[in-house]
Amino acid sequence: MDITTLLQASADGVMLGMMYILIALGLTLVYSILGIVNFAHAQFYMLGGFLTWWLFGEKHLGYFLTLIIAMVGIGFFGVLVERLCFRPFRGKVLEAFMISLGLIWVFEQSVLKIMGVWEKGVPRAFLGKIEFLGIQFYTERLVVTLIGIGLIVALQFFIKYTRHGRAMRAIAQDRECTALQGVNIDLTCSLAFGVGCALAAAAGVLLGPVLYISPYMGGPPILKAFIIIILGGLGSIPGCLIGGLFLGLVDAIGSSFVSLQAVEVLTFAFIFLMLLVRPRGLMGGLKAHE
């Protein structure tokens, strides 16, 4: 096993893991606060990707400005979706599940109609490589990883130290008591949904130049997000981090040293074991709406 290749593969794995974590965090946040499993969550990742193609690729706006616009714009769009589509069905798990499935189709087909069937590429945002301790890392992937880490840290800060973050934690623990404390439940839920969508959009912006953009690009990440949540535990942010890093590293190291088919087998074998040994996931716990 070549140590240089191992370190480079690990760097790729961390990058991928960060992106999956961003998507999974939004999903787990929405579940913790609103009690719904939003299968359409990765569609906001797809929308972020298309916005990147348009603003950064076609209109040549700055990369970081594109990131901010995508997060804010799609975050607000998420708030609208929550208000119109999910709020009427709060507390009704099956109905919310059906709504989210319908939204997948609506988003995909709408984008397909507007943008066409062919995939699109986004020019690379950062070229070249950086050498560190004799190992060469691709600048673009490094920047994406660092921004991903930054967003995760920002989310942790928001959840732990801001008023709205504390309100979200309180709702996750006990919605009724939180309401009795005078917290605006509707506003907090909308904010949580918007933040989740903003994180997914950020992943779309960051991965857009690395991969490619397609109306169907939401499919694989939502599956990975659910795997992360199963591994880490539904409703657990630290669990998401561990699950995401595990998934990214297995993917990158497995494909570098074994084969791509082995990666699939290893991932699902581990999930199987996890469900047998600890069905709640590594760090899953009870939440208020269970």
Partner: protein
Amino acid sequence: MKTLVFVALAFGILITFGLLGPCPAIAQETLLIGQAVPLSGPAASWGVGQMRFLEMLEEGINAKGGLNIGGKRYLVKHISYDHKVDLDTTIKVTNKLVFEHKVKFMFGCAVGATCRAAQTVTAPNNVMFSFSCWGKELLTKDVPLNFRAEHSPWEVCDIYYLGMKKRFPNLKKLATISPNDTSGWDGGKGAIAAAKKAGIDCVAEEYYERAQEDFHGVLGRILAKKPDIIDLATSPMGTGGLILKQLHELGYRGLKAWVAGTMPPAAIKVCGPEAAEDLYNEMYWDFSGKYTTPELRALVQEYERRYKEPVDYVTVGQYCFMKAAFTSMEKAQTLDPVKLADAIVAGAPYKSVLGPYMFGMADFYKGKPRQALHPMVLSAIKGGKVVNLGYELHEELKAKVGDWKFPE
């Protein structure tokens, strides 16, 4: 009495008007053509294209009053269902087409596994089924009404690698990367077998799940084997574009092959022109350039005018088949799928937009001649543009049309 006279008079007037009213000289019927095609998902470009070409043909035929068969006029109408690249859905919509809509002809399908699913319904019910799916088992003697409308890697690979070895005599090592399913394995194995005949050894053979997103790891492993040429086999356009992009990032500047690349311009949109430089393929060429027929150029122009999207080889192949089928229906004066199948083969070669178009490969597929054959054009990406370099005729086609040449 007065009432009786009034009623009789009114009745008589009504009958008279009825008899005097317009009456078609020939009774009009509807010929229903079914399609179970991918209208969503990554393969949508193929399904949507096949549906559009059927619409265009339908309009042309119906504008002339329909097909004249057995003294009746048949207006062509299509019903296209989205199989979503899902086997259960494919069987469901095929059942609907065959048992509810009672179609006897299904023109169009893409993605190997879905074709195999659809033929479990079409074959026992004697429904003619034309498709763009790859896989040897789709044209055996057990499915005599199946037709493949364009080349698969099996028809293309041998000629492709012999041609590449002539152009690049130092080609010695091949690496392949292809999806991990029947189409992918057909493409990968086909390329390896053909390359071996041309004296090129395979040093890396990789398969990936279609949901795979990042290829840095596996490409690094491939590049460690120092291949002279990397074949993307049956990779879909977006994924192929990403592989080309990441190969370029990893520093690979050698030859690329995409034996089953049906739409490289779509891949260039993903990877950029530099990454696609020196990509050689025979499943796509510049439809407006050298070695094309004027009819193909006109067809592509019309399609792009109507739909504002580029045309894919797979869909052009299906257009050629559908046109041959409709022509044969009128020529053989039959709508019986079994009789029509023989008539389609007997009526070849057709003067199609791709040049002479016929059906063969009965021995290879151990069945009837149901594989479409037409001139194969070799192209390469140079400076971001597709450049047509030359063409070859499959030996069975050459035996039929001799030394046919593209019009100057």
